[in-house]
């Protein structure tokens, strides 16, 4: 199934509602192998739900998710699910590092727990991954609470890439960071995605981040993808929704419920 024409990741007709609120209304998102797609959209527009459905943390009400052509709903056994999850890496919005573990144990978590890599080797690989995101070996034995927000994001990125995933998801990677740290994270994301040659899907409302890390950008509004195109075209998309969002204008077709 691994031909180059098959999208590496595809959401097809995905629908999700919470009570009466329809968050995703038949969304189709194919992502080609090795491409980086950024999904933009306002708060509450279903960006996080999209990524959670894509990675299997949430089940859609309708529609399918395909990874490398395989319908993920057909994965039944725990072992197959674990193998499937091993293809993913994810950087969470708040890094989601485990408080009770040291930084190296966090970074090496998949290696030591799921892949059964010996602790010594796992630690070495974790320290290497930390170095790649600009963190010195001295942080390896610290706990997450002892790191700044930016350093936690870097450690989270190291954890996402250490097992060399095929698809990486980035959930609001620059939220809560100052502009300089945000740019550092953006650069690291671009560097790591290129190094691994993997497919990337990011969600953000930070346009600087979207421009930097995306090959393509798609905009989610009212449960549908209202525009999708190359990142370079975002400033002249000809789409009123995108223009309003990119320029941060209160006036336009996007209505904010007050």
């Amino acid at each position: 199934m691994s031909d180059t024409k098959t999208p590496m990741l595809e959401l097809r007709g995905v629908r999700k509602a919470f009570g009466d609120k329809v968050v995703l209304d038949g969304v189709d998102i194919p992502v080609a192998r090795g491409r980086s797609l950024v999904i933009i959209g306002g708060s509450g527009q279903g960006k996080s739900v999209t990524i959670k459905i894509a990675i299997g943390l949430m089940a859609p009400d309708a529609g399918q998710v395909f990874v490398d052509g395989q319908d993920t709903a057909l994965i039944r056994s725990a072992a197959d699910r674990a193998r499937h999850n091993a293809r993913f890496g994810m950087l969470f919005q708040g890094a989601a590092l485990f408080d009770s573990l040291t930084i190296w144990e966090n970074v090496a978590f998949r290696l030591t727990n799921a892949d059964k890599v010996p602790r010594k080797e796992a630690r070495e690989r974790a320290v290497e991954a930390l170095a790649r995101v600009g963190l010195p070996a001295s942080v390896a034995n610290l706990y997450p609470i002892e790191l700044s927000g930016g350093m936690q994001k870097r450690a989270g990125l190291a954890r996402a890439v250490v097992a060399q995933p095929e698809i990486i998801f980035f959930d609001e990677p620059t939220t809560g960071l100052d502009p300089i740290n945000a740019d550092v994270i953006n650069n690291l994301i671009v560097e790591q995605v290129k190094r691994l040659g993997c497919t990337a899907v990011s969600i953000t409302h930070d346009m600087a981040s979207a421009r930097k890390i995306g090959d393509e950008i798609a905009m989610l509004y009212n449960g549908k993808i209202v525009w999708r195109g190359p990142a370079a075209d975002i400033d002249h998309s000809g789409n009123a929704y995108v223009d309003q969002f990119v320029h941060g204008r209160a006036d336009g077709p996007i209505k904010i419920e007050v």
Binding site: N85, R110, N113
Partner: protein, 257 residues
């Protein structure tokens, strides 16, 4: 909404919760009884749930044993039966107060801690992170806590039994004029092994309830810090109520034999 609708809605809600707890418990038991196990996590929980609860359980037991001795001595005095106080204290502690008080102390200390920790992990997406790292949260978080509580609460109860009886012994010999050797002999001759075993069996069940309620409410916490607080309260209250309910059911079963 009319009263019938209100009762119907509450009943449905209760049944939904009971079903949800049962499914959660089934997954927890399944994860506890099959590999892979996380030995490091289990060891950490044995220390946190068992070892670190020793002081609070011990203190509760000694004071309860002492107060029980005084009460039974006073009550027994109303029909000239003060001398059976050692036997009643021993029976009350081993069959009832030891397991129940140890479980209630654990409900307050451990159930709350489990709910708060797992609830905070839910709120900060650490549970989602576990899933993405190919690690089943039931195996990593729930099973070690269930196993540790089921294993350590009977041990804590054995300690509570010993210290509780010792509390009664101290009061009896120091303030009520009982002979020490006679007190020990009366206690020893009176107690059967079933008195102790039934209490330990109860405490294993209570341990399961305490850990289950903490894990269930923490795992299903929602709504940020407020949700974690709510989960912690629900965990303690539901654990305490279920411990009492299970105590009655088990005591009925044990006394019917």
């Amino acid at each position: 909404m009319n009263p019938v609708q209100a009762v119907g809605r509450s009943t449905l809600g209760l049944l939904r919760t009971a079903g949800s707890v049962a499914i959660f418990a089934g997954r927890g038991v399944g994860a506890s009884l099959s590999t892979p196990w996380f030995a490091g996590q289990l060891a950490r929980q044995v220390v946190a749930i068992g070892y670190l609860s020793l002081p609070v359980v011990g203190l509760t037991a000694v004071f309860t044993g002492a107060a029980l001795a005084l009460n039974i001595y006073t009550g027994g005095g109303r029909f000239n039966a003060e001398q059976i106080m050692p036997q009643i204290v021993a029976l009350g502690i081993t069959r009832e107060l030891g397991p129940v008080l140890a479980a209630l102390m654990l409900a307050g200390r451990v159930s709350a801690a489990i709910a708060a920790e797992i609830g905070a992990m839910r709120a900060t997406e650490q549970i989602d992170a576990l899933n993405t790292l190919s690690t089943d949260p039931f195996r990593y978080l729930v099973a070690p806590r269930l196993i540790a509580a089921v294993l350590t609460l009977p041990l804590l109860t054995a300690v509570a039994d010993t210290i509780g009886v010792a509390g009664g012994f101290l009061v009896a010999t120091q303030t009520l004029g009982f002979s020490g050797p006679l007190y020990v002999q009366n206690t020893w001759n009176f107690l059967t092994s079933w008195d102790i075993e039934s209490g330990l069996i109860k405490s294993a069940v209570f341990g399961f309830i305490v850990a289950l309620m903490g894990a269930y409410h923490g795992y299903n916490a929602s709504g940020g810090a407020r949700g974690v607080g709510r989960a912690t309260t629900h965990a303690v209250v539901s654990a305490a109520i279920l411990v009492f309910a299970a105590d009655y059911i088990l005591t009925s079963l044990f006394t019917a034999k």
